[in-house]
């Protein structure tokens, strides 16, 4: 098969001592990021992005994607040992992971979490290997209207699939677009929304926004509780690991189902966090031991971890194949590609074969390395968590400031970071989701460009969005997504009026 040949070639690209070393460094940094509150996948990668400016793109993406894998692994450590989710996607892991630790099975819980993560990621990478080239080949035929319709679909599904008020998602998204518009207009060269400030000419860099919104915002949130860690010590006995591995195959059905949920939620911009909750919920319903969930069931750790990691990994598919990231972290990686002079999108698979297949090969290898690293270094990271917050908090703020500064070597960006931090804190508290804003800042200019090109070719006629079956169906799907909550309510109402309201809280089965 074509893909397998390319994959082997990819392995030959990345198998150098330098790259393997970067992989280990990336994983360790990633786990560290995942463990520390306030540093997460997206802003962690954003902060460390400048470190890679002097590397070759392939080495750079290997290190950054490994930081990402590490962060995905790391979130589980705090969930199990401290009942504090290090990452939003590991909240569901605390439900059964922490009770297991309380029963003295911390080692088994961690092994289960790491192994499930690995399985989820592995299945997602296999999917990417075969599906991404196909999607890219298909997308090569895309013109401006098709691309705009895909952007539309991305953002509409955020609104339709999001929990809470759709207006809040809409607001977050539109604010992101407005921020993206600040600066030089890429088409006419006019200055927009700068209000005469020379510094604003560059516009807002989304990396700075990510560091502020997620990093500083998170620190402010954690500070509210006056965070005190009190956790279980952890040691991973090789015997416990082997014993757990013997038990895990029994949950193969849960694993596969969770991976499927994760992959689906990752490709559509649902993201890892909803994927983990959904998977946990489904597993609870389907499992024989469903009632015992929440008391330290192994299966309750398998489900969310597999789904979260599968979602986190498959979020890279649309990023690679279409240039549209499926998660904030994928958006940061996409920003990295642009900085290294690579144009993400379908052409990447044609013009940058070494890079793409090197990255895909590194996903396989990175996850294996990751599993080994986390299994062997848990005590170290558990010890880091015992460092008091009064040391960790200022260090994280310093690291965020350094990250924001290094993006453009601009002092002003550190101020923007603080501003975004306050926004992130307030928005999070009033349930305005941050991910749509970040994606809009990243994609704003590109979405606008494709919209303007489409409008140019049609002389301003919006009917071009339904000009052929392909673009028409994507656009229609986008509007279905946008009005999904209304549709669901409408259907429920119709059914309800027929047979006296039977399904009060039926979730849309996406």
């Amino acid at each position: 098969m074509n893909e397998l040949g390319a994959l082997v070639h990819g392995f030959s690209v990345i198998l150098t001592p330098m790259n393997l070393g970067l992989m280990v460094v990336g994983i360790v940094l990633g786990v560290l990021i995942g463990v520390l509150p306030g540093l997460g996948g997206a802003n962690g990668v954003a902060i460390l992005l400048p470190l890679t400016f002097s590397m070759s793109p392939t080495s750079a993406i290997i290190m950054l994607s490994c930081i990402y894998w590490g962060a995905l692994f790391g979130g589980a450590i705090t969930s199990v040992l401290f009942n504090i989710p290090g990452e939003p996607w590991s909240v569901a892991t605390t439900f059964d992971g922490h009770p297991m630790a309380q029963k003295g099975q911390a080692g088994a819980a961690l092994t289960t979490a790491f192994t499930s993560s690995f399985v989820g990621a592995f299945l997602a990478v296999v999917m990417i290997t075969f599906l991404a080239p196909m999607v890219a080949r298909f997308a090569l035929k895309f013109g401006a209207p098709e691309f705009f319709s895909v952007y539309l679909l991305t953002f509409c599904s955020f609104v339709g699939m999001g929990k809470g008020s759709p207006f809040k998602t809409l607001l977050s998204m539109a604010l992101g677009f407005a921020l993206a518009a600040v600066g030089m207009d890429t088409v006419t060269g006019q200055l927009r929304l700068t209000f005469g400030q020379v510094e604003l000419m560059r516009g807002f860099d989304f990396l700075v926004a990510v560091i502020g919104l997620f990093g500083i915002g998170e620190i402010l949130l954690s500070m509210e509780e006056g965070l005190k860690f009190s956790g279980h010590a952890a040691k991973l006995d090789p015997r416990v690991v082997l014993q757990t591995w013997k038990q895990l195959p029994a949950y193969w059905a849960t694993s596969l189902r969770s991976a499927a949920i994760g992959i689906w939620m990752g490709i559509t911009p649902g993201g890892a966090t909803p994927a983990s909750f959904m998977s946990y919920g489904v597993a609870k319903k389907m499992s024989k031991n469903g009632q015992r969930f929440g008391t330290g069931e192994m299966e309750g750790v398998v489900a969310p971890e597999t789904a979260a990691h599968a979602a986190g990994t498959s979020a890279l598919l649309p990023m690679l194949a279409l240039g549209i990231p499926g998660s904030p972290t994928a958006a940061v990686l996409l920003g990295g590609l642009l900085i290294w002079g690579l144009q993400p999108g379908p052409l990447l698979f044609v013009e940058q074969k070494d890079f793409v297949w090197g990255l895909i090969a590194s996903m396989y290898l990175g996850n294996i390395v990751g599993l080994l690293v986390v299994l062997s270094t848990v005590p170290l990271f558990a010890a880091i968590l015992r460092i008091p917050f009064s040391i960790i908090a200022p260090v994280i703020i310093v690291i965020c400031a350094i990250g924001a500064y290094t993006v453009h070597n601009a002092m002003l960006d550190i101020w923007f970071m603080l501003g975004f931090g306050v926004i992130g804190y307030v928005f999070k508290k009033i349930d305005i989701p941050l991910a749509p804003m970040v994606l809009a800042i990243v994609l704003g200019d590109k979405a606008e460009d494709s919209f303007r090109q489409a409008m140019l070719s049609s002389q301003g006629d919006l009917a071009i969005m339904w000009a052929n079956p392909l673009v028409g169906s994507i656009t229609t799907l986008a509007f279905v997504m946008l009005f999904w909550p209304l549709l669901v309510r409408g259907i429920a109402w119709l059914k309800g009026s027929r047979k006296a309201a039977e399904l009060p809280s039926e979730q849309p089965g996406h």
């Binding site: 002097s54 809409l170 607001l171 539109a174 927009r192 070597n409 603080l418 606008e448």
Partner: protein, 176 residues
């Protein structure tokens, strides 16, 4: 887009209510939306000889901001499910401010002393004042952390950091 609105003007015992903060944010973003719309109009939100003008796309973005802000405002003030729970209590607000205000001071300090010196001072002071560490330990920890950062960024990955007004000092150091 600096919005340091935290509605901290609430009386000490009772904290700000969530829907009040929501409404305040919505008013702010409504203003942002209107500003964007006005500025876009001025740029040319219509159709020019070479396609949609510079302000065409941002104008509608501003419109969406304004409309969704209005909807949130209405929901926050008179909505059935408005959240009247506490946004922050005074204790929490104090804790948050105890991180935020020093952070602002820190960024000011960076402007003059550069990242390394400012970071060392900031970490040490934070540890002493909020963490109640002894001076000696705090300074030692701060210096070690900054040495690690220096090695990582400047030496290993070759990314220079903001030197502030201490730039000449660096020239002296490297000149030798």
């Amino acid at each position: 887009m600096e919005q340091n609105e935290d509605s901290s003007g609430a009386p000490p015992p009772s904290a700000a209510r969530t829907n009040v903060v929501e409404a305040a944010v919505a008013v702010l973003t409504l203003a942002v939306g209107i500003v964007v719309m006005v500025a876009s109009r001025r740029l040319g939100a219509g159709w020019t000889s070479d396609g949609p003008g510079s302000g065409y796309f941002p104008f509608y973005i501003g419109l969406i901001v304004a409309v969704s802000s209005t909807a949130i405002l209405v929901q926050a003030l008179v909505g059935k499910h408005r959240n009247t729970g506490s946004f922050v209590d005074t204790q929490q607000l104090k804790r948050v401010m105890s991180v935020l205000l020093p952070a602002v001071a820190y960024v000011l300090l960076v402007r003059f002393l550069g990242l390394y010196v400012a970071s060392t001072i900031y970490i040490a002071l934070f540890m002493v004042i909020l963490g109640h560490y002894r001076w000696t330990r705090a300074i030692a920890a701060a210096v070690i952390i900054n040495a690690v950062l220096y090695l990582m960024f400047e030496v290993w990955f070759k990314v220079p950091l903001y030197p502030g007004t201490l730039e000449p000092l660096r020239l002296l150091l490297s000149g030798r």
